[in-house]
């Protein structure tokens, strides 16, 4: 890994809560979705931070909060030394140019009626960078070249391209503004396996050439491990573990990370036949009604009778550079606490697991 540099991005205790409204005439807030609930992390310039976790854990919301595409409820979002949350007007616009986003579904994030040229020029215009025609043309062609598309693509429309090519257009649209930070939300999950590798390689090449800083959000742990220097694992709005990609893989310490990692299928029968899976009981609780204490305690095979159910563990450094949010990380790592069976709690998709609604014991096979 490269030597430590200054952080380009620092999030301090960032929260994004979405109010749940009800009532026909008067909007009444009846609760909150605690989508992101106190996340602190930093991303070094020129590095890739990978954020993983299961659907609904708040990854996209965190990425959007960082770019202020949603307004954080609380906390600090520091980009290159300034708190982005305090910026307004022209200074906000200037900072926005330096942070760009790539989305999961290339087709739905690109306006089908706009040619590639107009898609790319749009951003330049918004930032007053398209005044010189000749220079703009050159910039567009260079950008297309960088993402491996021919100049002839400029006059075409998104539907004329394959999924992988559309994702290249999405990358070009971010890149043309010459940003320092790119937040990529599931950049390859809509793509076929054979195309995923092309896009991942492209992202790596662009980073090497331009010194870009990435926040890569993905649910696929193998993708994140491949591309990221540092990996953060999220569960129900919070970071539960953070380490260098190699350390996290070599020694996952949080019970959730262990389960997540053991669940990822490996395309190798020799590995699959020998693997021990940690099967989690039941479903992810709802972020409207997250469990008290450690949010993972309802599914944690290592949960203890003290602390787990009533004290939220802080993300703390357990080994050098390895942060874990678990009261018993050391005991679990040393094997002093053994995993046990967990009763699955029934989770409703709409209202979250209501307390007391526990099912009968289903042994995890």
């Amino acid at each position: 890994m490269t030597e430590r540099t200054e952080p380009l991005v620092e999030l301090r205790d960032v929260k994004v809560h979405f109010p749940i409204k009800s009532g026909l005439l008067v909007d009444r807030t009846v609760g909150y979705v605690y989508a992101v609930d106190g996340v602190s992390l930093s991303i070094n310039a020129g590095e890739t931070y990978g954020l993983v976790g299961e659907s609904g854990c708040g990854k996209s919301t965190l990425g959007r909060g960082l770019l202020r595409l949603v307004e954080p409820t609380d906390g600090e979002v520091v980009f290159d030394g300034t708190d982005v949350r305090s910026l307004k007007g022209e200074s906000l616009r200037r900072t926005r140019r330096r942070m760009q986003m790539i989305f999961q579904d290339p087709l739905s994030s690109l306006d089908p009626r706009q040619s590639v040229e107009s898609l790319l020029v749009e951003g330049l215009k918004a930032h007053g960078l398209a005044d010189d025609k000749a220079a703009t043309g050159k910039r567009l062609r260079e950008t297309l070249d960088a993402v491996g598309l021919p100049g002839s693509a400029l006059s075409k429309y998104p539907h004329e391209f394959s999924g992988g090519q559309r994702q290249r257009i999405g990358i070009a649209r971010a890149l043309v503004l010459n940003p320092e930070l790119i937040v990529a939300d599931e950049p390859v999950s809509a793509l076929d396996v054979s195309i995923q590798a092309q896009v991942l390689n492209l992202l790596e090449d662009l980073q090497n050439e331009r010194g870009l800083t990435y926040l890569i959000i993905a649910h696929d742990l193998a993708v994140v491990r491949h591309i990221a220097d540092t990996v953060g694992v999220m569960y129900l709005g919070g970071l539960v573990e953070e380490a260098s990609s190699d350390d996290l893989y070599r020694e996952p310490m949080h019970p959730y990370t262990r389960a997540l990692m053991s669940a990822v299928p490996v395309p190798d029968p020799l590995v699959e036949d020998r693997r021990e899976r940690i099967l989690l009981a039941g479903d992810l609780p709802s972020p409207t009604n997250p469990p008290a204490g450690c949010r993972f305690h309802t599914r944690c095979p290592w949960a203890q009778p003290t602390r787990c159910a009533d004290e939220r563990p802080a993300l703390r450094e357990v080994l050098g550079g390895h942060r874990v949010a678990c009261h018993y990380a050391e005991e679990i790592a040393a094997g002093r606490i053994r995993p046990h069976e967990v009763e699955p709690e029934l989770v409703r998709p709409d209202d979250g697991g209501s307390p007391g609604d526990t099912g009968e014991l289903i042994p995890t096979p």
Binding site: E54, S55, S162, G163, G164, Q165, D192, V193, S194, I195, Q196, A197, Q198, L200, N201, E204, H219, D220, L221, A222, R225, H226, I227, S245, Y249, A259, L260, M261, S262, A263, V264, P265, V266, P267, D268, P269, L270, V271, E272, R275, R277, L279, L280, G282, D283, L284, E343, P344, E345, L346, V347, R348, P349, D350, D357, T358, G359, E360, I362, P365
Partner: protein
């Protein structure tokens, strides 16, 4: 006799004013009792159309199905719709990617399971509901007694997929077809469902056709794997053989292009160049030729035949990856 014998199955879609499109092109494979057979390939390669054709679930108009689908000897393609409906559910169960669209939203889960039992096993409602409760329990749904009365939208995606498995297995079918059953689920829930499927297949002796784009899912589950490309089987091999010595350049390329959780970090991925949009029609040569590093002249002179390999598989390639260099 095989349990299921698919011979030269083709599906051609024909919309008025459009050129006919061959989605499945002379696909042949067989499934022995109790065996788990994988169909893998990228999106659009014909996996779902193959399974829908086997089940007789393709739209009535706009397509032509040819070939044979023999289930215990009888050609399913020749059955009357009524008889086919009877076979589905009783002899062949099916699980789809999106459980919500395959469950009836206005009927409680328990009743949906019970109805299958009533229809195919002639049970009365009370007995069927009792049996349904046991089935929900067997597929790991917590508090099955209460779940009987709940509607699909009241339970999570993973639980819905379990309910669908309960329905598919209600009549102890001899064959289960699962089309991307875990693709819409989170990976920890996927692990639950795959473990459940494996366990049920072991316990009941049901044969399973597992359709997926995920080579990792296949690696842990399937006895035999069929790799599809452009509507044709391009390689078939036993699980260990396929992953240790992939011979088709496409299979080999796929295995090299997936990031693996346990691979050395920092290694560049070997991408397959181009995309399926570059395919040439099989009538002109090997569809994969424009993306293939092994292409030779013969590849542009018609489709290469599917030929048996020394290791008991089949391979459709003029210039396969040599055995000694295939370990990824």
């Amino acid at each position: 006799m095989s349990l299921l014998d698919v011979r030269d199955l083709s599906v051609v879609f024909q919309r008025r004013g459009e050129r006919p499109f061959t989605a499945v092109d002379k696909v042949s494979f067989s499934v022995e009792p109790g065996q788990t057979v994988g169909l893998v390939g990228e999106s659009g390669c014909g996996k779902s159309v193959t399974s829908l054709a086997i089940m007789g679930l393709l739209p009535k108009r706009g397509n032509k199905v040819t070939g044979e689908v023999r289930f215990e000897g009888a050609n399913l393609l020749k059955l009357r719709p009524d008889d086919m409906r009877d076979r589905r559910g009783r002899d062949i169960g099916m699980i789809f990617q999106d459980p919500l669209s395959s469950l009836n939203p206005v009927i409680p889960i328990g009743v949906q399971v019970a109805e299958v039992l009533e229809r195919h096993q002639g049970m009365d409602r009370r007995k069927a509901l009792r049996e349904a409760r046991q089935l929900l329990d067997a597929v790991g749904i917590p508090d099955p007694e209460r779940r009987l009365k709940e509607y699909p939208h009241q339970i999570s995606g993973g639980m819905r997929q379990r309910a669908l498995i309960a329905i598919a297995l209600a009549c102890k079918p001899r064959l289960l077809i699962a089309d991307e059953p875990t693709t819409a689920l989170d990976v920890t829930i996927q692990a639950q469902i795959l473990t459940l499927l494996k366990q049920l297949v072991d316990e009941t002796g049901t044969a399973l056709i597992m359709i997926t784009h995920d080579l990792g899912v296949v690696a842990g589950l399937c006895d035999t794997v069929n790799v599809l490309y452009g509507g044709k089987v391009v390689e078939r091999a036993a699980r260990h053989e396929l992953f240790a010595r992939p011979r088709h350049p496409y299979t080999h390329g796929l295995l090299n292009s997936v990031p693996r959780l346990d691979s050395v970090r920092g290694e560049r991925l070997h991408a397959i160049r181009g995309s399926v949009a570059d395919n040439i029609p099989w009538t002109e040569g090997c569809a994969f030729a424009p993306r293939c590093d092994h292409v030779v002249d013969a590849c542009l002179e018609g489709a290469p035949p599917l030929e048996p390999t020394a290791t008991g598989g089949d391979l459709r390639c003029n210039n396969p990856v040599p055995v000694e260099v295939t370990v990824p």
